[in-house]
């Protein structure tokens, strides 16, 4: 539809909370060129957040929400975990269903919205942690790639089950000691970005969220390609500073270090995806 759904009844304007009024008057609706540079000047689509102070995942969520090219017609599907603490704070249509079924729910939503609104663009974006995406939800994640669902899947990889208290996940690095891996993890980190390529994603990126502008570019590419071609996958390193023993102000340094090693920026695109990305660049939208 349009951002008109955020317009408040005039008679109620004076009694509505400030952040709701700001959504109408100061948020960036109807502007596909919106991006992280708007963050200091506009109303964000996330109101506060309930994550730990300095949590890189909160940075990722803010950059992603600032970068959505079409927020007024974007549905966000999430899963259980730290991310699910944030979704009640987001001003868009969000769905939390179960743990690990996020890509299945998103598939149903996307297909029905295409059927109900054949003349409109409705973007469906999945935001989930590494446990939800790669462990318990791997089946639904990959099957949505196999089926070529036109959705964008974004994985917040903090290399641990953080919300449940710091247990080993499939994306934990080999040798790291966490709960449930008291001798250190016995096997390698799952290369999910490579699996996504092999499973049929048309655009795949791996990065940390140390550079807001780079996050914006990647998110826009992933959404535009998903809209026109097929599934896209973005793998973000959002370290759990709590579980790896860092202070609130250490998150950025941690990500910058990993930028040089296991989260060095990596990007893959199919020819069809490249065509879309080039076109959008020419249009000035990326």
């Amino acid at each position: 539809m349009s951002y008109k759904i955020y317009e408040i009844n005039e008679d109620l304007l004076d009694v509505m909370p400030q952040e709701i009024r700001d959504l109408q008057f100061k948020a960036t609706w109807g502007n596909p060129k919106r991006g992280v540079m708007d963050l200091p000047y506009s109303k964000e689509l996330i109101e506060e957040h309930s994550l730990c102070a300095g949590c890189p995942e909160s940075m990722a969520l803010r950059y992603i929400l600032a970068s959505l090219p079409n927020p007024e017609d974007t549905i966000i599907v999430n899963s259980t975990g730290c991310t699910s603490l944030v979704f009640p704070h987001i001003a868009l249509h969000t769905v939390h269903s179960l743990f690990g079924n996020q890509n299945a729910v998103a598939s149903g939503i996307k297909r029905v919205l295409e059927w109900r609104f054949p003349d409109k663009v409705k973007d469906v974006v999945v935001l989930a942690g590494d446990g939800a995406t790669v462990d318990i939800g791997l089946d639904c994640t990959l099957q949505s790639f196999f089926r070529q669902e036109k959705i964008t899947t974004i994985c917040f990889d903090n290399e641990v089950y953080a919300n449940t208290g710091g247990q080993e996940s499939g994306l934990t690095v080999k040798g790291h000691v966490f709960k449930m891996a008291p001798k250190g993890k016995q096997w390698d980190k799952v290369p999910m970005w490579q699996i996504a390529i092999d499973s049929g994603c048309h655009y795949v990126a791996r990065l940390t969220v140390s550079s807001p502008k780079r996050v914006e570019t990647v998110i826009k590419k992933a959404i535009y390609v998903a809209r026109e071609v097929g599934p896209t996958y973005v793998h973000l390193y959002t370290p759990c500073i709590l579980e790896i023993g860092l202070n609130s102000d250490d998150g950025l340094d941690e990500m910058r270090q990993r930028d040089k090693e296991r989260f060095a920026f990596f990007e893959y695109m199919t020819d069809a995806a490249k065509e879309v990305i080039e076109r959008k660049k020419e249009e000035g939208l990326i």
Binding site: I5, S107, R111, V112, R116, Q143
Partner: protein
């Protein structure tokens, strides 16, 4: 599903004329057909203006799911695909319904259990999804035979459960199911159950309305929860979301929400009564003090047993339960007035229906409640076996029975 209006007549996207549920169910002329329960599912879906269906293979329901796929090819169903597992399918179906689609799927036995986490989620998100459940045994040991143990597991998921006796019942219940489940004051999922194979795979006579008329399409904007399509304001939880907060308000919210789902099922009673022509059906001599309380195939076999017993000079009757959730409490209490013996024949080893009957008749009936006969794992329940249970009790000599 959108509609087109031409010269005062409304058509759905499949080009069928939209008629009222009452006309489709009660007034439209019907013609006689001969088909399986699975084919009856197809005929119902064809007339139900269905937006979406997601399928997964399992015996015995696959045929119904294939046939819905054919309807998709023919343009009667908007969205259709095969999912990865029942867990995935029930989640995909949830996505479809959340996005505003009238949605149907089918499953059986182990598939139901694989999908289980989804059912309370369906109820909690208040989506009026319809699940056609063709009950069969659950593992282990491996069984694909008729057995309705799984229905006992589903009783408290927050979904409505209706139980069809035969293909005709199933056809009518699928149509009525959408209408009742989608009432704004109800708006919870509906499970329409049958006994697998006995109903899904056998052919019987069935009366069908014409195929060029259909139910009014689902209007998601009448739903009590915002539809997830970005066309309406989202639920506003910006301030102090109660989700995940450890405080009394969050606990109370969760508890009251669960109560609300159960209340919604209760509120379905008057609608179900109307569209099913009562939550129960009685058969046999109304004065008989021997009563069979049953659902599904067990009710059908009990009716046959009543006929056999009549030959033996024993008066008996059947109270068939059409709905299990909501449970027809008042109807059952009224129906068993004067009963001395209540038999509850069932197709499972635990006797979940007997437990339900005991629970709701406690303090309301002096009859002896007998959870018998009970068969499982694919065993049939011949009418003679039911009659024999009664004759044993009355001390009568068994003549032509077995």
């Amino acid at each position: 599903m959108q509609t087109v209006k031409e010269q005062g007549i409304i058509y759905n996207r499949a080009g069928q004329r939209v008629v009222s549920p009452d006309y489709l169910l009660f007034e439209a002329p019907r013609t006689k057909h001969f088909m399986t329960g699975s084919e009856a599912v197809k005929e119902a879906v064809k007339r139900a203006s269905v937006d979406a269906s997601v399928s997964y293979p399992i015996t015995p329901q696959s045929e119904a799911a294939h046939l819905i796929g054919e309807l998709w090819v023919e343009g009667y169903v908007g969205v259709y695909f095969r999912g990865e597992s029942e867990f995935g399918v029930m989640s995909e179906v949830a996505g479809c319904a959340l996005a505003g689609a009238r949605t149907i799927t089918t499953t059986s036995g182990p598939g139901t259990l694989r999908a289980f986490e989804n059912f309370p989620m369906w109820a909690g998100t208040r989506i009026p999804v319809q699940l056609v459940l063709m009950a069969r045994g659950v593992n282990a040991p491996l069984s694909i035979q008729p057995d309705n143990l799984e229905v006992g597991f589903l009783l408290d998921t927050g979904c409505m459960i209706w139980y069809a006796e035969n293909a005709q019942d199933l056809f009518d219940m699928i149509l009525a199911g959408f209408v009742v489940a989608e009432q704004p004051s109800v708006h919870v999922p509906i499970i329409t159950a049958i006994d697998g194979f006995f109903v899904s795979h056998t052919r019987e006579a069935i009366m069908l309305p014409p195929e060029d008329i259909a139910l009014p399409p689902y209007n998601p904007y009448r739903a009590p929860m915002p539809v997830i399509d970005a066309e309406v304001p989202p639920g506003r939880f910006l301030r102090d979301p109660f989700v995940m907060k450890s405080n009394y308000i969050s606990y109370a919210t969760h508890a009251s929400w669960q109560w609300e789902v159960r209340s919604a099922i209760e509120r379905s009673r008057p609608f179900a009564k109307h569209y099913l022509r009562g939550l129960t059906e009685e058969f046999g001599d109304p004065d008989a003090d021997i009563v069979f309380v049953a659902c599904g195939t067990a009710a059908a076999q009990s009716k046959e047993a009543v006929r056999l017993l009549e030959d033996e000079g024993v008066k008996a009757r059947v109270v068939k339960l059409k709905t299990i959730r909501p449970f027809p409490i008042e109807e059952l209490r009224q129906a068993v007035k004067g009963a001395k013996y209540i038999f509850v024949p069932e197709f499972n080893v635990v006797g979940w229906l007997e437990r339900e009957v005991r629970r709701y008749l406690y303090g309301h009936s002096d009859a002896e409640i007998i959870g018998s006969p009970r068969v499982a794992g694919g065993m049939t329940m011949p009418a003679e076996v039911i009659a024999k249970e009664v004759l044993k009790l009355t001390g009568k000599e068994v003549k032509h029975v077995i």
